[in-house]
């Protein structure tokens, strides 16, 4: 009975909290001070047409570095736990996928990888960026595992790519302190012509590093979960 009462009380409190948000909702007609500054001066200051990227990579670059670190740590934890739990057992060989799936994946795999690279290389121009591109690359790996369950990734190459990308990201961030306005400032490279692929300073370079890192990490996590990893 007391438990029921607590549940009802919690629901009433929650309703009370959200009533204020929902009841007195007024649509904003102008941006607040900080977003307004980003929108007004972001394109001139950082040279990136996609403002989301400018905020994510440069204005809030430290948060992005934190996100990359969190993903890195969880990938390590997954690798460690699944290896400790005897993840290398290959009791029965997995079933082969149908021929339709195998043939389709054969054609789709390079295209999906290319789409992932496009998304992170154009992160400063079009929607998307390092995380999205990396996730698309990992989806390509997932397709590969679905069609050929026995396939394995080259772990040496993956770890080398991942470590070098993480290292390069931090190196560019530190270069920002020395050459430009601060840690992770994108103006260590010239801003270039607005709207071109090679523009917006270090943003495309940073997003390429993030894309490679996220893509390799998520692929490695997928392979750990799939089992029979080396």
């Amino acid at each position: 009975m007391a438990k029921r009462l607590l549940i009802v009380l919690t629901l009433i409190l929650l309703a009370f909290m959200f009533w204020d948000v929902a009841g007195n909702y007024v649509e904003k007609t102008a941006l607040e001070a900080l977003p307004g500054r980003y929108v007004a001066q972001g394109p001139d200051e950082l040279g990136a047409p996609n403002l989301v990227t400018a905020v994510v990579v440069t204005y809030r670059g430290l948060d992005t570095l934190g996100e990359v670190t969190v993903l890195f740590l969880s990938a390590i934890a997954v690798g460690l736990l699944l290896t400790l739990g005897g993840g290398t057992d290959a009791a029965e060989p997995p079933k082969r996928a149908s021929e339709i799936v195998e043939t389709a994946v054969e054609y789709l795999f390079p295209i999906v990888i290319l789409l992932g690279v496009y998304i992170f290389a154009n992160g400063h121009l079009t929607p998307g960026g390092g995380f999205q591109g990396g996730a698309v690359i990992a989806s390509a790996t997932l397709l590969l595992f679905l069609s050929l369950p026995q396939s394995r990734l080259r772990h040496g190459l993956l770890s080398a790519t991942e470590s070098l990308s993480g290292f390069g990201y931090v190196v560019i961030g530190v270069l920002g302190i020395a050459l430009a306005g601060g840690f992770l400032d994108n103006r260590v490279l010239p801003l270039g012509e607005y709207g071109r692929l090679f523009s917006a300073g270090a943003i495309p370079v940073i997003y390429t590093f993030i894309g490679l890192k996220v893509g390799t990490e998520l692929s490695a996590v997928l392979e750990r979960f799939k089992g029979n990893a080396p």
């Binding site: 990227t53 009791a91 929607p127 960026g129 996730a135 998520l218």
Partner: protein
């Protein structure tokens, strides 16, 4: 209402139905698929709200990779679940 509002309403109802199905379905694999569908409809709603960056992340990670990881994990735990009883 204009067509866009109807589309938004449809997507919101689909999110709710998917989420309820994910909670209430007994078959755990179906529940995971329902959760993936919920993410997919959520990503559509992000596109409608003109947030394509978030929609991309939600579509690839929320409905693609995490569903696959859940399915792999279910596949691996079930095998061990049966062993001690026998």
């Amino acid at each position: 209402m204009d067509p866009m509002a109807w589309l938004t309403l449809l997507v919101c109802v689909a999110i709710l139905v998917g989420a309820l199905a994910a909670v209430s379905l007994d078959n755990i694999v179906s529940a995971v698929i329902a959760a993936g569908l919920t993410s997919l409809f959520a990503s559509v709603s992000y596109v409608i709200l003109s947030a394509p960056d978030v929609a991309m992340t939600e579509a690839s990670i929320g409905s693609g990779l995490s569903t696959a990881i859940f399915l792999y994990a279910i596949n691996r735990t079930r095998r061990q679940e049966h062993d001690p009883d026998e």
